[in-house]
Structures are given as C-alpha cells and as structure tokens.
Amino acid sequence: MNIINIEHIAKIYTVGSEEVHALADVSLRIDKNEYVAIMGPSGSGKSTLMNMLGCLDTPTSGLYLFKDNNVSEMNDNDLARIRNKEIGFVFQTFNLLARSSALHNVELPLIYAGIPSEERKERATQALLSVGLGDRMHHRPNELSGGQRQRVAIARALVTKPAIILADEPTGNLDTKTGEDIMGLFAHLHDQGNTIILVTHEEYIAEHAKRIIRIRDGYIERDEFVTNRIIPKTKISVN
C-alpha cells in the first residue's frame, strides 16, 4: 500500500523578482515499511521535499496523496493533525525544547494528541527506553550529548506510532561514531516495521537505506534500490 503518492509536485519561492524552483517536477511513491534515502547536493531541494512530505509545507502545484487523502486540499488544522499523528520528524539540529526534560519533550506530541497524563508518561518512558535512554529521562537537552539528544528526538518521533519517520540530515551534527550509532537505531526501527525517509547529502549515510532517490536542481535524477546496503555494526541494545 502507498503511504505517500506525489505527482508532479513543484515548489516555487519568489525572492524579489526572481523565482527559485526549489522543486521543479517531482513524482514518487513510497510504500509501507520502506527505508528510503533522499540524496543530493546542498541546495538540490531535499529539505523542501521533506517538508512537503511531512505536511509542514504545501506545494505550489501538483498532487500529494497521503494514505489516499489529498493533502493539497487540507487546511491548517488537518495538516497539524497529520503531523501530530502520522509523521515523526527528526532534524539535523535535534530541535528539542531546551527548558524541558527528555521525558517532557517526548510527551509533547501526546499532549497535542490529547492523551491522558498517565498513558502519556507510560508511552514516553517506553519510547525513551527503546532508544536506550532509560537513565536520562529527567535530563534537559543541555545535560545530554549530541547523540543522546538525537535519540530523544527519535523517541519523540516514535512515540505517536507514526506512519512515517522523516529524518533530515540526522547525523549532520554528530561525529562519525555517534552518527553510526544513530544509523544503527534507524536500522533497528526499520526492522521493527517502521517506514523511514532519510535526507542526506552523504553517499555513505544514504547507503544504509534500501532505496536511494537522487535529486538535483529540483528534479529526481535517479531512483534505485541499494544492492550492497550497509548494515551498521553497532545496534542499539534494546530490552
């Protein structure tokens, strides 16, 4: 079943009198439990595409069906609801709330989903355990390392059991070793049945996925399955 189905999507930014075609004409489908990397050089339109897929932004033209619902026709509230329930974002800069504990950060999507406090705590705790942060739940982001922060962000993305996890350069701010750990975590999440879309400009990171979509100047250049997929050595220990 297609989770994502986009046809002839374009996104045009107008800067002064100049038009920037961040996305020129993109069509693609992504199925349940896929592990896709969106690859391309800086400025090629990766983030724009990811924001579109994550319903943070709407296309200038084209059709976007999310689970057969027409996103192009949705209003702000519907988009917020989809972001809340169906999509888990992981960002390069983690984007955690600085003043809140790890637990509260992970609880946040559940608050907006209207989940009662007890269930919220339970599920957030579970999510933090599943990324190996059971002992850091009451720490604030500034008391955590980069890798730990990214794991909190991943727990936050997971906690609503979304249809897809969207990660934009998730290892971009991490050292190689920590980046490898995070890729291990994604591999594990994929094994568990999650659908993962990864944005990166690094060939090596992209090769962890099962499918690579290469984009350049707002067009899809190539879309192929990975033959020699990298399986990370370090997998997160999960109990």
Partner: protein
C-alpha cells in the same frame, strides 16, 4: 475537550517556565498592571469608605436637620465679606422663632467655641465646646455609652456639667471611668455627667460629635464666646418630606424677625446636610477622576508593556513555535498558549497590585481615614487584569500562531 484541557495545562507549564526564566523582565513588565490595579482598588476602597463614613455621620447628626447661622455653609452666590457683615444670630431671635414656628419637630439653640480641655496630665487642644440647652438632644440622634444629657435645671442654671464625645473620652480616659470626673475647660471645672456612644465619622470635621463636649449654653456665653451671644438655631423636621416646608417657614419667620424688605437678600443662612452631601460628592468625584486617570494611564502603559514583551517573547521563541507546530500543535493552540502567558503575567500583576492595595488600605485605615475594602474591588481588579491580558496578548499571540512552521524552524 480533553485535548483542550491538556493543552491548557501545557500552556500553564510553559508560561510559568517562561516567567521563571525572565523574572526581572516579567516584574518590570507587570509594573503598569500592578500600579493600575492598586490604584483602582484603592480608589474604590476610599470612595466607599468616605461614602460610608458620611452616611454614619449624617445619621448621627440627623438627616432631617437644618441650622440657622450667620454664615451660609455652601452658598457660593453670596460673597464672604457680605456674610461677614451679617448680624449675628442671637438668643432673642431664637425665642421669637420658637414662638412663631409651628412645623418643626424640635428646635434648640447652640453656641460653639474652640478650647483646650484637661484632665490630670492629659490635655487636648482646639476641642469644639458646644453650649446647649436640654432641648438640644431632641434635635440629634445621640445615644449614651454612660450617663445622660444635660437637664433643664442644669442648662437653666448654667451648672458646671459636661457631656463628652466618645473620642474625647478615649483620649482623656483610655482606661474608662470618665463618669463624675472633673475636667477643666480653659480654666473652669466641669463634672462629667454623660459619655456619648461613638456616633460620627472623620468626614464631618468639626461637626463630629465624637470630638466635641457639650456644656450648658450660658456657660459658653459666660466663659468662652468672643462674638457675644452668637448662636446656631438647630431645627429638626419630623421627616424628610417636611424639610422643605420647615425650611420655608424658618426663612419667612427669620425675615420677619429681621425686618427684611422684599428686595433685600436673606442676611442669615439656613443650612442642611445636603450641602455637606454635595461637598462629599465633589470630594468623591475628585478621588474617582484621579483614580480613573491613574488607573487608565497605568493600565495603558502596562498593556503596551505586556504587548511589547510578548512580541519579544514570541520572537525569541520562534524556533520553539516551529518545533511545536512540527509535532502537531495547531495554530489556535499556539494562539491560546501566548494569550495565556500574557494573561498569567497580567493576573500576577493584578494579584500583586491587589496585595499592595490591601496593605496600603490597612495603613490608611490606621491613619483614621475611612476605607472599606469591597469584594467587588477584588473582582474588578481581576477582571481588569484579565481583560488587559487578553487585549495585550492577542496581537503577539496571533503573530505567533500564523507563523509558517518551516520558516520558524529555520530561525536561529
């Protein structure tokens, strides 16, 4: 519904965290609200207090009373030098008036003088000594803590007896036991035969019976009065409907006694509490206007301050807004969150203002100024801070709510 309550709780947490993170800034911002609420509560308290004090005052003196005197209390049409040149009202005129007047419930002459009174080492200066006849009490609502009023024999015989007001009693005899003691007025000795209940209030000034002593009228004439024989004629009407005709009768009798021609002005004043009422109303009016102006200005400044700080807060937290939107916060959620923050800021300001007002009104009360803290003042204070919060929070909150999530997330 469920979502809303969680969301509001989250909003509360966020707001308090934000306030905690910017304590000084928050305090400075709410200063306007604090001042505004303090002044509105103090004003309504003072107005209420003055009003209540006046009501007790009037009822102590009797609201259906009038007073014929040389001076008109509240007449601005007659210039003061003309009043000064009027003849004194004298006992002979009182006797004639009493004979002719048919309508009053009671009449009595009185004469006042300011003197120093002493008991042992205690001394009070500038006390109003009112000389009265036994009839005087019929023109008042006096009640007694102890003893009785001056009798006919005592007033006719100018006996050295005195009835003292409650405040005088308190000052000279803090431990009680005033009855039958001998006090000195100027250099003459008087026996205390009665102590009045607490009757009057601050607003009445010299007319407050609490701060007066009463002695036989002839004693005042004999020992204290400079303007020889000058009296006040105290008149009481049976009820408020009678006031006008009693007054008209008094005016025509006095004109007859004085032999005034039809084209001559009254050369006496017939005064009523009503005059005092107008005076009090204008006092209250000034307090109210001052209060409203201060309140309005303070709240306006406060609201602008809060709006400004909220805009700063929204700007500072652009990234946070982006994050919240990315994980599913709706625009209204963000809107409510920031309005709530402004609201809490204002409510805190309002509560602090209320606290100030309560403390200040307690201090003022200690200084014997009438205050009366009202429940409506509390409600008013909270309502005002609530409305200010919503009004000043809306624009910043709206700018936060309509932020584009992608732009917001990119903000550094």
């Amino acid at each position: 519904m469920k979502e809303l309550s969680f969301e509001l709780k989250e909003g509360l947490i966020i707001s308090f965290n934000a306030l905690k993170a910017n304590k000084v800034r928050s305090l400075l911002t709410t200063l306007g609200i604090i001042i505004g609420v303090t002044s509105v509560v103090l004003m309504s308290t003072a107005v209420k207090g003055i009003d209540e004090a006046f009501q007790t005052g009037v009822s102590a003196l009797g609201s259906d009373n009038m007073y014929i005197t040389k001076w008109s209390w509240f007449d601005n049409d007659v210039p003061w030098w003309e009043m000064r040149n009027r003849p004194e009202v004298i006992m002979d005129e009182y006797d004639q008036y009493k004979r002719m007047a048919k309508l009053p419930l009671a009449t009595a002459p009185s004469a006042a003088s300011q003197q120093t009174i002493k008991f042992g080492d205690s001394k009070i200066e500038g006390v109003t000594i009112t000389g009265v006849t036994s009839d005087y009490i019929k023109t008042t609502n006096f009640t007694f803590a102890e003893g009785r009023f001056i009798s006919e024999t005592e007033s006719d015989g100018a006996r050295m007896v005195v009835v003292i007001g409650s405040e005088i009693a308190k000052q000279l005899f803090p431990n009680g036991g005033a009855m039958n003691k001998i006090i000195k007025i100027k250099s003459n000795k008087y026996k205390i035969i009665g102590v009045l209940d607490e009757l009057g209030s601050w607003v009445m000034g010299d007319m407050n019976p609490d701060n007066q002593v009463f002695i036989p009228l002839d004693c005042v004439f004999k020992y204290y009065q400079n303007a020889r024989g000058s009296i006040t004629i105290n008149i009481r009407a049976a009820n408020s409907q009678q006031i006008t005709i009693v007054k008209e009768e008094a005016q025509s009798i006095m004109r007859r006694i004085r032999g005034l021609r039809y084209d001559e002005r009254d050369n006496f004043g017939i005064n009523q509490q009503e005059g005092l009422l107008n005076e009090i109303d204008s006092t209250i009016g000034v307090v109210q206007i001052a209060g409203y102006v201060i309140t309005g200005l303070a709240l306006f400044v406060g609201a602008i301050g809060i709006m400004n700080i909220m805009f700063v807060s929204v700007k500072e937290r652009t990234k946070e807004i982006g994050i919240r939107k990315a994980i599913g916060a709706k625009s209204v959620t963000i809107l409510r969150q920031f309005i709530m923050e402004a609201l809490i800021l204002c409510l805190l300001g309002g509560l602090v203002g209320l606290l100030f007002a309560v403390i200040l009104s307690m201090i003022i009360e200690k200084m014997d100024f009438p205050v009366s803290l009202q429940y409506d003042a509390f409600v008013l204070a909270l309502l005002i801070s609530l409305i200010t919060g919503i009004l000043s929070g809306f624009a910043p909150a709206y700018s936060a709510a309509k932020m584009d999530p992608v732009e917001a997330l990119r903000y550094e």
